[in-house]
Symmetry: C2
Subunit: 264 residues, 2 copies
């Protein structure tokens, strides 16, 4: 019987070359996260191949990775569709994030280093600065013109610092996976429309940071979990409001955004 094992080559350098497919997947994912490729978009293999200057073969493999990460849905003989969350998806995701990041905060409170603590404080400061700037921007330009800015970056940095401090690699990865489960604009668009919510969000994070600072695992976890759940409720509610306005036929229905085959 032909076995598929047969031990073979031994890799000298582990991950020096990222590999074309992984790079492609990361790039496509980035465009989806940023909103450049909107939810409900059909990803055409040939178009992607052209834009990245490669053939369809590596594109197809990249799409399989994105499928496994639940970024796109692949329909046999039809193509890959960029997944969009439903309101319950949002709630569920934030609930789970509350658990995972809560655990991370708890662990971080017991084992954070001084260096990591400095990073956390810096992120909080950046968050505060970004909030001021964003509020000023909204006051002059309006909510609609808001684009991904320093507040969003600081937001990610704060979370990354916390996850890094907890020291559990798998936890980092899983939390990141949840964070990237849907485009960023869905998140901060919900919060930016009411600046007072951002104040609240910042205050919650200050509480978390303080708890970690004084090495209080129980409080750190509690505040972090609360923070995630509260944020999740806000995002989900905003999403539902928005969905009520533009009447998408069905939240779960794939037929949304069908348009026409060639948009010429």
């Amino acid at each position: 019987m032909s076995t598929e094992e047969a031990a073979g080559p031994r890799p000298r350098r582990a991950v020096s070359d990222p590999g074309l497919v992984d790079d492609l997947a990361a790039r496509i994912h980035a465009q989806i996260r940023s909103g450049d490729i909107p939810i409900g978009t059909w990803l055409r293999q040939e178009a992607l191949a052209n834009t990245f200057g490669v053939s369809r073969t590596p594109v197809r493999e990249a799409l399989r990775k994105l499928q496994a990460d639940r970024i796109v849905d692949v329909f046999p003989h039809r193509g890959a569709l960029v997944r969009g969350p439903t309101a319950v998806d949002l709630r569920e995701t934030y609930t789970i994030r509350g658990e995972l990041e809560g655990l991370a905060a708890e662990l971080a409170a017991t084992r954070i280093t001084d260096e990591q603590l400095r990073r956390l404080r810096a992120a909080e400061a950046a968050l505060r600065a970004g909030l001021d700037e964003l509020r000023a921007f909204v006051a002059t330009e309006g909510v609609g013109a808001v684009r991904s800015g320093p507040w969003d970056a600081a937001d990610l940095e704060f979370r990354d610092a916390m996850l890094d401090a907890c020291g559990v690699e798998r936890l980092q990865r899983m939390a990141a996976e949840l964070r990237d489960a849907f485009p960023r604009n869905l998140v901060w668009a919900a919060l930016a429309e009411e600046p007072s919510l951002l104040d609240e969000s910042l205050a919650q994070r200050a509480r978390i940071r303080a708890a970690v600072e004084r090495r209080d695992p129980v409080a750190a976890r509690r505040w972090m979990t609360d923070h995630c759940r509260r944020t999740g409720s806000l995002v989900a509610e905003a999403f539902e409001r928005r969905q009520a306005v533009e009447d998408l036929p069905d939240p779960r229905d794939i037929r949304a955004r069908l348009g026409r085959p060639t948009q010429g």
Copy 2:
């Protein structure tokens, strides 16, 4: 500029056809989970293609999916290597599982239906029966001869029933992902070597079931988290013992199990 969107076809039936690639990935994954393909095996594309009667193209896409699921490591120009956990991997995974399944138990306690509760009880009964049988088997045949049996199946069924009862789809998926992160035999081989541990494991589950039955979310969560952490400790310790005996050069080192290219 050529855009990669261009709205297109609308899928009629959602998931009627699994698709060859998904099927392949599932089959390979199953063989890894069952231990038929051991950890550290180099997966040769052509060999896999031959065994499944297809060409290398779909095999490569399937491997990309497994890579995204962290089942294999893909090294550019070298191949795909079946990942094996380290002891810290095991501990981390069970810690996180404690959180997720704890949450699941908490939710299940509040919203489980009578039908689901019946399923949970049935799984517990099967677990008990499987335990008796396994103990008898170990007494006559010895630990070494133990293979995946009804106890393992009942174990999975109990967890699935609980996750199903919690009603959060993403939670189900993430817990399943953790459960399948490494071969099953690593798990129950650790527990089977000391039957009293299985008694303890069963008692813990009875406690959980009882808490869910009386709709006590706090207790359900507590017992479930405890159960997962305890199991994780046992598995990790057994793994460390085993690893100490067969002196693998380095836990993280890829060069393990190098052998020769063609094992003819």
